[in-house]
Symmetry: C2
Subunit: 301 residues, 2 copies
């Protein structure tokens, strides 16, 4: 299949590479053009603009940073995909952006006979490289069916949530759940240590029961060691929580935990910690509690 | 072994029964005396006061509601265990109470040559009946070793966290982690539904990844169905968060999620919902969002 991939970031580049490996013909574009070069070495062709990339392909896959970026690469009256793509083709947007904007963009393309599937991913750069992403999809049954063979190259768990935008809504839900779980873990282990219990033993004791989670299993060592290797950047999670808060306001849902974590992440970013893994929510608690940096241990103060 | 069990509540009664089944000689006491009767039918003897129950036994096991209850049954100058128990014996407190009070009580008994192990449990009434509780223990290595054969009758996972009080600290950590996880799940699924996604599909899509947890696996159906069968009462979790907040203040640790959930649970209790399962934290969000009671579905408003 002829596919354009727009956005050669941490996620987009390995996704394009996996499509090449699967035998597809791929044309790439990135705003910072030199990021296209490694993909060209892998067999991709390149295009000067999103519009040029989209010209003549059956599918455009976008993976860029935020809502305005998607709007620009798809809808810009000069360089946007909308100037290159023809009726009958399909857009798959793997960016994490606002559900409401997604629905507007999809409607614009629907008017031109172009399908749209929102397909935000989770699983990080490792998942993108290995092709083991979880992909949450919104779109019509037909468009989802057309996207599925490609998405199955990129991810190991592809779920059709519902109509267009529903994939983005699921991603928002994911980011809210992990926000509360990470912050609570940070509070619990900091308090355990300061109150005189070995936090490692606490993890062992409670991790197999009601308090157990992927995050407890895979990220409590970050909190115990006070090291926050990526993972998923606090700065990017804050961006996603911005979408969550906007969506919550639009749909009138109080989201106190999401609001709280967003403001804490603003503090972490202000401290220069935005590029650590988001398990560093624990840092905000430990610094607030006057615990010196370094591995967390019983009686810390 | 001769064992006194004080407190014939939802947890204490089945624990006493399991000790009887394991062949121990058990004397029981409960403030509301008729609650002793079913245990007498199972082979226990009964005593008029905690002091009388403790007279001549090697181990006293307490399982009562809160810090003042433990202080009363153990230390009351007239009826307390301290008047009946002799040097060389051991107290095992399975109640969930303040770590600081636990350390004071243990010190009082240590002065009389009486050992103390704090051993709060998790796993609910079902775990107490089946003998599959998780038990988090604080105490000296020797006292923990003495308590272990009995605790292994009551639970399937017995962990020695550290010195006396450390079991209670682990329980506090457990209650903070689940607080944040439950609230975040309630926010995420309510928002997903109002923003137009099928919340059941969202659970399927995100539950196997970073957002996955015991709570997601086992309690998201409560949120989806808007039914909150026990489980673990909101009222009791609020009591435990009271201990968490006191402990956090004592040890100077900011615990914003625990504080937030405590105040939300006060609201739920005020609405008459304190005896539902604590997964009803989602109710606070959905009612706040104007979602009518009943199963949660896409486009709810």
């Amino acid at each position: 299949m002829n596919i354009a991939v727009i956005g050669m970031g941490t996620m987009g580049a390995p996704m394009a590479r996996n499509l090449l490996k699967a035998g597809h013909s791929v044309v790439v574009h990135n705003r910072t053009r030199e990021r296209e070069e490694p993909l060209v070495a892998d067999g991709a062709s390149r295009a000067d603009t999103p519009a040029a990339a989209a010209s003549g392909v059956e599918v455009v896959l976008t993976c860029v940073s935020d809502t305005p970026d998607v709007q620009r690469v798809l809808l810009d009256p000069k360089i946007g995909v909308i100037n290159g793509l023809t009726s009958g083709s399909l857009i798959i947007d793997c960016s994490s952006i606002a559900p409401a904007a997604t629905r507007e963009i999809a409607a614009t393309f629907a008017d031109k006979g172009i399908g749209f599937v929102d397909a935000p991913v989770s699983g990080g750069s490792e998942g993108a490289i290995k092709g083991t992403l979880a992909i949450m999809c919104g779109g019509t049954v037909d468009n989802f069916a057309r996207a599925t063979p490609l998405l199955e190259v990129l991810g190991s768990k592809v779920t059709h949530i519902g109509d267009v935008g529903a994939g983005q809504v699921a991603k928002v839900a994911n980011q809210i759940v992990i926000a509360g779980t990470y912050l609570a873990l940070g509070e619990a282990l900091t308090l355990a240590a300061k109150a005189g219990a070995d936090p490692q033993k606490v993890v062992e004791a409670i991790g197999g029961g009601v308090a157990g989670s992927w995050i407890m299993q895979n990220r409590s060592s970050n909190v115990l060691n006070d090291t926050y290797p990526l993972g998923f950047r606090t700065r990017l999670h804050r961006k996603d929580l911005g979408i969550a808060l906007d969506t919550a306001r639009t749909f009138e849902v109080p989201v106190p935990v999401a609001s709280l974590v967003a403001t804490i992440e603003d503090g972490l970013i202000a401290q220069g910690l935005g590029d650590e893994d988001m398990s560093n929510l624990a840092r905000f608690i430990r610094r607030g509690a006057g615990v010196p940096d370094g591995p967390l241990s019983a009686g810390d103060s």
